[in-house]
């Protein structure tokens, strides 16, 4: 009998067993160099058109935010068209050479403001999300890691926060601020996200608490802090990350709503789309383009983040099989 490889089918000693198994299995461990879960998810995502659209939009937005200062023809606070502004007959100067979108009611170049507006918009969206996330992480981790009365306490707090509709809470928070600024907007929006993030995190943390691999780490004698930080937290982050992308989108929209109600950042030298949209209210009838550009940008960017978040959610969901 011609053997392909020198194998024995009977194993009698440890050495033999080990050698045999090694040969048998060596080829089995695919030499892909340690592809992590995320890499796997990414491979699946790459083929999802929804994700690609979302990613492209988001990437364009971030890129714009970075390069807009060089891209914008004017300083967004400069008022090159102020001489053309007349409250009644020409409150909003129209397009003219050098000002493709025209100006705003303060004689500032609209194009530059829309372009540079991406920066503050990104800052608001991302910071609000990060702060909300940080708060949610702390509360959620406390609740999820300790369980018991800590969990009960945290969850009651979260319940109370959740029982007031989010945007209402944001409205009141923004109104509470002694000196409204970009920060009050960011914080008002962020606070609303905290209970959502903490519930999400707590849910997956609790699931992790009872999971086999956490039990395994416990059995191994790993220190409790290390279990929480190295095993429970990283494995609970998936849904939270997805949620974050969605929150960036809602934060931008919420910021617009706050501005619409006059609770936004009063200092408009550094433009922000939501604020521009809010400020355009009184020109809506006659000069809708003032609202159109920031609103359009918000919609596109929010759509980008949402599409990306949704498809990420789907890709990371173990139940979805595509």
């Amino acid at each position: 009998m011609n053997l392909i490889s020198p194998k024995k089918t009977r194993i009698d000693t440890l050495a033999a067993s080990v050698a045999e198994v090694e040969v048998a299995e060596a080829g089995t461990v695919r030499d892909t160099g340690g592809e992590s879960l995320l890499a796997g998810a990414w491979r699946r995502l790459r083929r999802n058109p929804i994700f690609l659209i979302g990613l492209t939009l988001t990437a364009l937005f971030v890129l714009l935010a970075i390069i807009s200062p060089w891209l914008a023809p004017w300083d967004p606070a400069a008022q090159p068209l102020i001489d053309k502004v007349e409250r009644q007959s020409n409150p909003v100067p129209g397009p003219e050479p050098g000002f493709p979108l025209g100006g705003d009611n303060r004689g500032r170049d609209l194009l530059s403001r829309v372009l540079v507006g991406s920066q503050q918009t990104l800052v608001v969206g991302v910071l609000a999300t990060l702060i909300g996330l940080a708060g949610g992480l702390v509360l959620g981790t406390l609740a999820g890691a300790f369980g018991g009365w800590v969990d009960a306490l945290v969850m009651r707090i979260v319940d109370v926060m959740l029982s007031i509709p989010g945007l209402l809470l944001a409205f009141s928070l923004a109104a509470l601020a002694a000196r409204p600024s970009q920060w009050t907007v960011i914080i008002a929006i962020a606070v609303v996200q905290i209970p959502i993030f903490s519930r999400l995190l707590r849910g997956s943390m609790l699931a992790q608490r009872h999971s086999d691999h956490v039990l395994a780490a416990r059995a191994l004698g790993v220190r409790p802090a290390s279990i929480v930080l190295r095993h429970m937290l990283p494995n609970s982050l998936g849904p939270v990350i997805v949620q974050s992308t969605l929150v960036v989108a809602t934060s931008i929209i919420d910021a617009a709503a706050l501005s619409f109600l006059g609770l936004g950042n009063p200092d408009d030298r550094r433009p922000e789309w939501g604020q521009m949209l809010g400020a355009s209210q009184q020109y809506l009838n006659e000069h809708p383009h003032l609202a159109f550009w920031p609103a359009g940008c918000i919609i596109v960017v929010a759509l980008g983040f949402t599409l990306m978040g949704e498809s990420l959610r789907e890709a990371l969901d173990p139940k979805s099989r595509r």
């Binding site: 009998m1 011609n2 053997l3 392909i4 089918t9 009698d12």
Partner: protein, 335 residues
């Protein structure tokens, strides 16, 4: 010998997914089942047992696969039937029981309705008559207090009872062919024994043909008349259970038997596992898929794909079959 009720001829199921090579999950499988006969399909996880059964039932996902070959049921090719006619037949002519009794039952619909709906659908009787039938069926599969159970929901039943309910559902319209896909894997041994006994009894009572799918050779040994061993989507050996277990000819069958610790074997003998794992398989196209794990493999195994040839003592179909260039010599088998 009666005519086969179900005749699977050269069944091939190819999964095509964009971005991946087409993959033959089932690759030219043929077998017959006669009324009153129990035919076993065995093999390791992923060898294509479930796909075969789903293909027979026409239950494969709608997209991403192609099915070729023939599934003749009393001479009609089920694969060629339009979807509506197939729906008529499922549940009435051919029925199926699945592995996990809890997940296979709809959690929000009462047991009674789930049993009755199939009666109602295929016998065209009234709702109350269907319910009455359902009660009779539950009683028949040995569920105590069937009238109360009719109104209960799956989660209120124990595992064994759930599986009985599934069996009641499958048998409600007295199908002539029953496919059981690992019906007892999720159950405890003592419950498994109850269920298997029940199945045996029901089949012999009504002359139903049974296709038994399992990876548990013990179950096969006790249940089946004919055994088909699958490996990597192909049939590698077929035989009547006595001859097959007594003298497995394919190294894979032999290896499987050697891997199982046996309650009746002496202690201390180390097990003889098949080395490697399924992921070592070669494509069947130009070689023997099992060759990399096979102790008897030789060069020819890598050069061409061994054909399925008649072999040995044969099954009730008259003929056993084997797909191997270097069958195991009976004396080599150690028991």
């Amino acid at each position: 010998m009666s005519e086969p009720l179900l005749s699977v001829r050269d069944l091939r199921v190819t999964f095509t997914r964009h971005g991946a090579e087409p993959f033959d999950a089932v690759d030219g499988v043929s077998f017959d089942v006669r009324p009153g006969q129990t035919v076993g399909l065995v093999g390791e996880s992923g060898c294509g047992k479930s796909v075969t059964s789903l293909a027979i039932m026409g239950l494969l996902p709608r997209r991403g696969n192609t099915v070729t070959g023939e599934v003749l049921f009393e001479g009609t090719d089920l694969l060629g039937l339009p979807a509506t006619q197939m729906r008529e037949r499922r549940g009435r002519d051919l029925a199926m029981i699945f592995q996990d009794p809890l997940s296979s039952l709809n959690p929000v619909v009462s047991i009674g309705v789930q049993v009755a709906e199939v009666v109602q659908r295929h016998r065209g009787v009234s709702k109350s008559a269907a319910m009455e039938d359902a009660k009779v069926m539950l009683d028949k599969v040995g569920i105590p207090d069937p009238r109360r159970r009719l109104r209960e929901y799956p989660h209120q039943l124990s595992g064994g009872m759930r599986q009985r309910a599934l069996i009641a559902m499958a048998l409600a319209c007295r199908p002539r062919l029953l496919i059981a896909d690992e019906p007892t894997t999720a159950l405890d041994v003592t419950i498994q024994a109850q269920i298997l006994a029940l199945l045996k009894e029901l089949v012999s009572d009504s002359d139903t043909a049974l296709v038994m799918i399992t990876h548990d050779l013990g179950v096969v040994a006790g249940m089946c008349d004919d055994v088909n061993v699958l490996y990597g989507g192909r049939l590698v050996e077929r035989g009547m259970r006595h001859s097959l277990f007594a003298a497995p000819a394919h190294p894979y069958t032999n290896g499987l038997l050697g891997s199982i610790p046996r309650l009746d074997a002496g202690r201390g003998e180390p097990l003889a596992p098949i080395p490697g794992s399924v992921s070592d398989n070669l494509p069947w196209a130009g070689a023997c898929a099992f060759a990399p794990r096979c102790p008897a493999a030789a060069e020819d195994c890598l050069a061409s794909s061994p054909p399925l040839v008649p072999h040995g003592g044969g099954g009730t179909d008259g003929e056993g079959a084997l797909r191997c260039f270097h069958p195991v010599v009976p004396t080599e088998v150690s028991s």
